[in-house]
Amino acid sequence: MKHTIGIDIGSGAVKTALFAFDANGKPRWLAKRCERIRRRDPMTLAQEGRDGVLADAGLGADDVAYVATTGEGENVKFATGHFYSMTTHARGGVFLEPGARAVVDIGALNGRAIYVDERGKVLSYKMTSQCASGSGQFLENIARYLGVAVEEIGPLSQTSQNPEKVSSICAVLAETDVINMVSRGIATPDILKGIHLSMASRIVKLLKVTGIKEGKALMTGGLALDTGLLAAIREEMANEKVGVEAVAHEDSIYAGAIGAALWGAFRHDRLSALERAAA
């Protein structure tokens, strides 16, 4: 039995997944770990993540055929190889949701929409630009300001009656916009929904640019758990008449780590075959 580990080092959290493969190469997910970085050293967290999943599965470091990193993990010393995050999110996304034809990853700073085929091959993608407007971080800051816990954002946003659009392009100025809204007496759910809508419009735009026409779009990354954003994206898709269904998965946040583990197994087989041929 072959085992691989995928480690996804993000700007907000480190996610780790451990997989086992049977003789036919069929993957089975054994263990997972997710740790928010909160100003700690990501490299240490990566190590802890690896040790953690191994402990959960009762395995040792020697039992692992390939440790694959993704995200900002190019420099992890104990890794066997590295894959770029859209490669891994695509593969992981299709693993979680086989019907997905697009994977939308909204992280703390950047957002990406990836158009994939049924095998998880990246057909095209679109990333947000250098400017951080409309990022997860922004939403988090605003929620803190409004005194709303991260888990509450989604449910609250969905109670909104009159969403108030956030106009500023810049995330910093948008913060002031929001403060202005509070002073005008706009209700918290309406503000949150407004932010969700403006994020959703950006995301749907990214998605459309990739060229996807139909199928499911799986949200991955931390914001996939935000039901308010998902709802806003659905509304926006309907408005824009995009025939794509936005879905989330409870393990969405692990998509990158999963993809890395799966690709690790693939490369492991290729490399072993090459070594055998060389011998």
Partner: protein, 393 residues
Amino acid sequence: MTATIPPAVAIVQRCEALFDDLDFKAVKAWKAAGTGRKAIGYMPVYVPRELVHAAGMLPVGILGGGDSLEVIQGDAYYQSYICRIPRSTIELGLTGRLDCLDGMLFPSICDVIRNLSGMWQILFKDKYVRYFDVPQNYQDEIGGRYYVHELEILRDDLGKLRGKPIGDAELNASIAVYNDNRAAVRDLYAYRARKPWQAPTSEVYLLLRAGMVLPPEEHTKLVREYLAAVDEFPRPKRDNARVVINGTFCEQPPLALIKSIEMSGCYVVDDDFMLVTRWLLDDVPADGNPLEELSKAFLHRSASTAAKYDATREEKGVFLLKQVKTRGAEGVVFAAPSFCDPALLERPMLQDVLAKHGVPYTAFKYAENTGQMAPIREQAGTFADSIKLWSAA
């Protein structure tokens, strides 16, 4: 005992020093080496450097300030939504770094450069400044006639600047010098396409940059020495995807970006850096009427770029496709400067052509001073991953 530096490394180091030198010491040194020597700056998309050379002057390619110039005054002249290169060029000028130039040529690239020529006229009143227009009509009798006239004006102006008209013989000699330079650069590009691990693009790029400040004869020699030197020692070959870079013809990406693209798993096998070195695709006859020949080469045998009109729809993307085919590329990386209207408006058309021919591509934007490479690596890396991982499947 210190180990001697391998010749290839020494050449690259020399080029790097030229690249890093924002004070144009090489130009100053060249001028100091003879009395009355003059240097003329130009933006290296295309100007007929032959004319400058024939006047005994040094043509100097000006490519903005890169990522190490602190732009202070330049920003005073440009809004945030205009690309970087004009502001860093202005900064170079205002800080006296371009004082070694006796004139400046602004070729017809885009509205930004066009207006920059006027700004130069105002800010540097004592210098020769010319907006050098090129025809977007490719008929000899129409565009050609206009172009020959433009060339004549430039020839006259430069002749006046040096105090003696430029003769046909001088011009033909310079055409021959540049034919030789183009041949060397063609060899360099062909070599890199054959063995990209031997001649990485970060080095090829530096080599071309050296040509912006060195006299052409010296540059030709340098290119040939490099080629001979790199071929001596094998370098490790990696499992990389072969790509063509497009969109970088004006504002240059930082060197770190070129390195990042290579690091993330791509071999660059063709590009549009400093097109002036490869604008004319083959030799210009050096025994005819020089201006006519230069004009014909421009009209009928020149590279394609977003700054140039394609007379028919069918021509769009042909040049790029040919690059992909002849260099054996597996994909195209569109890297355009932020706010660059020509490159960014051209891109969707080129992408459409590539899609129709099944050539994969990816695209991103940069600025000459982009500091964050992580998103670039991620995009180029994903692109390389997808070519590599899926070509086997």
